[in-house]
Symmetry: C2
Subunit: 329 residues, 2 copies
DNA sequence: CTGAAAGCGCTAACAT
DNA sequence: ATGTTAGCGCTTTCAG
């Protein structure tokens, strides 16, 4: 790797001048040319490590998500990347696996790597985010809340749950169950509260609790929960899942039982990734994953640029694609 | 951020000793204790930037993939991450969008960030990989070939195409079409050559070319190509798609036309992500995505550790899950 | 075993 | 407008 000293020597100027040319400070056109030629000739690329050590900051944004294999988060990542790229920043994607320890580890790395900022889908509400914010490094929470008052971009989870459930009742289903994630995770609890809210008005009141299943929030969890629901004495005729992956699992279980929507109503909070079903067989509450990402990135970039207004919370709304009506029996 | 100077001062030793403690060099037990306590008290985290500038190397691995939203590549990424984590390395995921310019940009970054190595699913066969290898930084190619003789981990694409096509003929289909990616991409051409090879033996010879569709290799491409095939005078009764995403598109187009496998045979090279279809309705040639990642990471880590044997190429095999037989008419 | 000091490549005062 | 120089935080000779 050539250094600015070598470039300077070849161009017959001082290293400082080379640095100035690189950073667009005032230099005579003549020397600019000389430096550019020398840099070209030596295939010079500035050493980011040295620059960073000097500047105590980099053009790197850390994006911490629970799972790169979940399309919701990859879409979000795409949104972040688009905005970041355009502003000259690179994004470092980190998998936390929803493990607070891994999250902490990555936050420490963000610090010791002098990253410009962090976008975080928090694994828990009480992570070590202060380590980062205390050092003046901006952090934006996305999709999930933190205990701290920092910028955040959320989805109206309650409304999403309500919308999914309402769509099913409107389509003529009467016994609407819910497959929710584990207790204690705010996003899934909110969505299932939305379900409960609608069911308590429009459903057959006494069956509410039997119709609420908690599962791990992945495909296998959704599948198991759906199987359990189908095995009930008086099974539901429709189901809401509080995320995309459990939706896939539920549909798999239905398919294995020989049941096809809309014979059984299905509403998913989230987008069914790569679905090969007929588009309006089911109801989808589309979460604005990518938009979540672009919004978070925009806010973070503002903070990086020095904006220090009070913490903001943006709540994005999901929009619904309603599935077909329940077929007559 | 506390520095080793502050730790040293607090512990009453020299910065060099602090460094030694951190790096496990020989230091008297007494001072080790002193240093550890001081570090603890100051919440000291070593500055990676400074360390890297000094050492000219980091514990960062760059992973360049065309698309984070493609489950094949996220599975691969998981594989890389697992191995890397275990060895104390962090993985930086970079999206190239199959754009050689972006690829070059990221390779430059890998250089100027002093990354330990690069795992690359190349966007083209003649990228600027030399920039990196010339600097002695190890690079492992994965999933696709480069022009250079470097370590690589591949899939037997031809065999995958053969396996997919054979499964369809064996299941009783007679007019097997192929939806391939754009011309000029080796991986998809190889897979479609596998198809051609089988069809020329077992198929109705004269229709080969009409049954070969080229599409962009994403969902919409597969869908359009499938629609085109269905509109032919004598349409096929089965189709092979050369990747996962086009498989999804093809299934969508079939579903829109009211056709359900196995009434129409479908074989996909790659895994159908999050499929809600009945598991054996279609044939899948499972590409060992994760294994590709772990293998590449293992090879890269060996190189990083100093291994300098000649370049190796590992070819992994796909295994097939056969779909149902064609129903009698 | 330990400390002093140089230097990784770059940038930002400070001079000129 | 340009050159000189110090220093970002760390590791590693080199002395002792």
């Amino acid at each position: 790797m050539a250094t600015i000293y070598e470039v300077a020597a070849l161009a017959g100027v001082s290293p400082a001048t080379v640095s100035r040319v690189l950073n667009g400070a005032a230099v005579s056109p003549e020397k600019v040319r000389l430096v550019r030629e020398a840099a070209e000739q030596l295939q010079f690329t500035p050493n980011r490590t040295a620059r960073r050590l000097r500047n105590q900051s980099s053009e790197l944004i850390a994006l911490l998500i629970p799972d790169v294999e979940n399309p919701f988060f990859t879409a979000l990542a795409r949104g972040v990347e688009d905005k970041a790229q355009a502003a000259g920043f690179s994004v470092v994607l980190c998998n936390t696996d929803d493990d607070p320890a891994k999250e902490t580890r990555y936050l420490d790395i963000a610090n010791s790597e002098d990253m410009a900022g962090v976008i975080l889908a928090p694994a828990s509400e009480d992570g070590d985010i202060r380590h980062v914010t205390d050092r003046g490094r901006p952090v934006v929470a996305v999709d999930r809340n933190t205990g701290l008052t920092i910028d955040s971009v959320m989805v109206d989870n309650r409304a999403a749950g309500v919308a999914a459930t309402t769509a099913l009742f409107d389509a003529g289903y009467e016994r609407v169950a819910c497959i929710a994630g584990p207790l204690g995770l705010e996003w899934t609890e909110e969505r299932s509260l939305g379900w409960r809210q609608v069911v308590s008005k429009r459903g057959a009141g006494e069956t509410i609790d039997r119709y609420l299943q908690h599962a791990n929030y992945r495909v296998d969890g959704g599948r198991a929960a759906m199987a359990a629901l189908l095995a009930l004495d008086s099974p539901p005729d429709a189901v809401v899942t509080t995320n995309n992956l459990m939706g896939v699992g539920a549909l798999q279980a239905l398919s294995e039982a020989g049941i096809t929507p809309p014979d059984f109503g299905v509403a998913v909070v989230g987008d069914l990734p790569f679905s090969t079903l007929h588009p309006d067989a089911i109801t989808q509450v589309h979460l604005p994953a990518r938009h979540l990402g672009t919004t978070a990135a925009t806010m973070l970039l503002e903070r990086i640029a020095g904006d220090d207004q009070p913490a903001r919370t943006v709540v994005l709304r999901a929009d619904v694609t309603r599935g077909a009506a329940r077929p007559a029996r």
